[in-house]
């Protein structure tokens, strides 16, 4: 059976590429028996979905916006 580290990297590749039949079998077999890798995959899938919605609601301060205008506006001609 492949190790957890190898399973993690194969799982990563599987998200984007078609694995060989042997690689797919090795990964699936590992996942059936490894509770930690199943848990890791579940958590990572959730993190990936969350990352797509990340929003920080950061803003320029009024002072920063003033500085920005001072540097950019003269270029408008």
């Amino acid at each position: 059976m492949i190790c957890c580290k190898e399973a993690g990297i194969l799982g990563e590749k599987m998200g984007e590429k078609k694995l060989s039949t042997m690689e797919t079998f090795k990964l699936m077999y590992h996942m059936v028996w490894c509770k930690n890798c199943r848990r890791f995959k579940k958590q990572i899938d959730w993190i990936n979905r969350t990352l797509k919605q990340i929003d920080l609601d950061e803003k320029f301060t009024q002072e920063e916006k003033g500085d920005l205008k001072e540097k950019v506006n003269p270029e408008m001609g």
Binding site: C3, K5, E75
Partner: protein
């Protein structure tokens, strides 16, 4: 279809915060993110003759910023290369796996309770903070892959990374990000 038009005099008031948000999700330092937004406006003004009105001015500004961010990653090439040299000596993943490559006692993932798996504003900041703790190369690769949705081929080409290094890098970044969230949010 009506073509879009540019209104440069409104850009800072209308788009600067949106662009700053976009940059801060992709760049660790606020000062650099601010500079990239400024460069975006200056580039847009200098190249406005090339704007054909086929996309909205907001999308056009975002495209310019995206290209500035990629240039920033490339300028950091020396840092990236020195970190890539260390990509083969499995130091990072030694913390998670034992000598046989299976999860170590302390590195194995713990169960996360569903009440903590919420996408609140507070959580988003913790998530971004954890992402910012990744090293430069992990952060660049991870951002391009999982936030911008670029494919591995494009990322390897732009950042001059080998395919084998790429998969190891992304996996390590995930190990570290997951661990950071577990320590700082889930417990």
């Amino acid at each position: 279809m009506a073509k879009h038009q540019l209104h440069p005099e409104q850009w800072i008031d209308v788009f600067s915060d949106l662009l700053l948000n976009y940059a801060l999700i992709r760049i660790k330092e606020r000062e650099i993110a601010k500079d990239l937004v400024q460069e975006t406006f200056l580039t847009a003004i200098r190249t406005k003759e090339q704007y054909r009105g086929e996309i909205s001015e907001m999308n056009w500004l975002f495209l310019i910023l995206k290209s500035r961010i990629l240039d920033h990653y490339k300028k950091k090439k020396e840092v990236l290369e020195s970190q890539l040299k260390g990509a083969d000596d499995d130091e990072d993943s030694d913390d998670f796996f034992n000598s046989t490559g299976h999860w170590s006692k302390n590195g194995a993932p713990n169960e996360w309770t569903t009440d903590k798996m919420v996408r609140s504003a507070e959580f988003m900041h913790v998530l971004n903070e954890c992402k910012n703790r990744l090293n430069e190369v992990q952060n660049a690769v991870f951002t391009m892959k999982y936030i911008d949705g670029e494919d591995s081929e494009m990322i390897c080409k732009e950042l001059n990374i080998s395919s084998s290094n790429y998969w190891v890098l992304v996996h390590r970044a995930k190990l570290k990000l997951r661990e950071c969230l577990e320590k700082n949010w889930m417990t």
